[in-house]
């Protein structure tokens, strides 16, 4: 009985882990908003309950920690209402992707700058 309980809890842990990370997907949020999930009181309470993933002992299991930011925003009714619009979701998507690329772009710029500098050194040595 205890074993069955534990497996049940393990499963619930896994499911909630997956679900909370899915919240990082703005298209999925738009999907949920359009189907009226955000109007459901029980769902809103569930979102509040999911805030436990912010604790470090739980957060260390998250592969997409940005989902926590979305979770925080989802606590606000205004945000949930806005997500019904596809443009809102698209905007969030674009910004997320741009932010995602930020570091690699910065690195590329640094590499370019370094390459240019080396070229200059080579030409001046000659």
């Amino acid at each position: 009985m205890q074993a069955k309980h534990d497996t049940g809890n393990r499963l619930r842990f896994q499911l909630e882990l997956e679900f909370v990370q899915c919240l990082a997907n703005p298209n999925y949020l738009n999907f949920l908003a359009q189907r009226g999930y955000f109007k459901d009181k029980a769902f809103v309470n569930y979102l509040k309950y999911l805030l436990y993933w912010k604790e470090p002992e739980y957060a260390k299991y998250l592969k997409y920690p940005q989902c926590l930011h979305m979770l925080e925003l989802l606590q606000y009714e205004h945000f949930r209402k806005e997500l019904v619009n596809a443009q809102c979701a698209k905007f969030i998507d674009e910004q997320q992707i741009l932010h995602w690329q930020h570091y690699s772009r910065k690195r590329m710029r640094l590499q370019q700058a370094l390459a240019e500098q080396q070229q200059q050194n080579n030409t001046s040595v000659k």
Partner: protein, 263 residues
Amino acid sequence: MAAASAAAAGGGGGERSSTRERLLAALEDLELLARELIEILAISRNQKLPQPGEESQILELLIQRDGEFQELMKLAVDQGKIHHEMQLLEKVVEKRDNDIQQLQKQLKEAEHILATAVYQAKEKLKSIEKARKGAISSEEIIKYAHRISASNAVCAPLTWVPGDPRRPYPTDLEMRSGLLGQMNNPSTNGVNGHLPGDALAAGRLPDVLAPQYPWQSSDMSMNMLPPNHSNDFMLEPPGHNKENEDDVEVMSTDSSSSSSDSD
């Protein structure tokens, strides 16, 4: 005669008046008496005196008044000395007052500075305590950082171009092939039974399922149970928003926020 009696009366009634007034009164009396004496002497030169004793009377009064006058002068001199001392003392008192005020100002300033210092020290202690509470080993942080970066979850792959299906969040594909997705499709053979061809072709396995801790290790997940045991999220946890007061009737004792089987 009338003037003499007036002078006597004036000399006696001087208790309440100031020394200056008494001095002036005495001077007036002396002047009056002297005048009378001279008048009488002038008259007696021409005719015989009707009252022979009057001159001596006036003379006596004169002498008396003069005596009083001298005493009053001495009194005035003493009073002058005392007044002078009083002025000196007042100056000293003023100086001391200024000193006290100066000290008061300095004390206030010092208190202000100390209060600020104490306040800032307390803030520092608070932040130290806060930092200590959240202390994590650097190795763990580095491991976590490596995990989320290497899988391109928080940083785009260097070869990413628009058109690349990879995203900073779990994509539709990944979501469907995870545990959550499989629960809605009981027809598939177990977890990850059917993988859409593209995902395999792209060389990517859905990573959401193995987030990064092996589910197989039982001891780990025993301690990591999600907090709220209640599965019914229609029930308001106690102490919830005020706007939901009308839902009180649905409230049951089941909605405790502590996990009932966490050990």
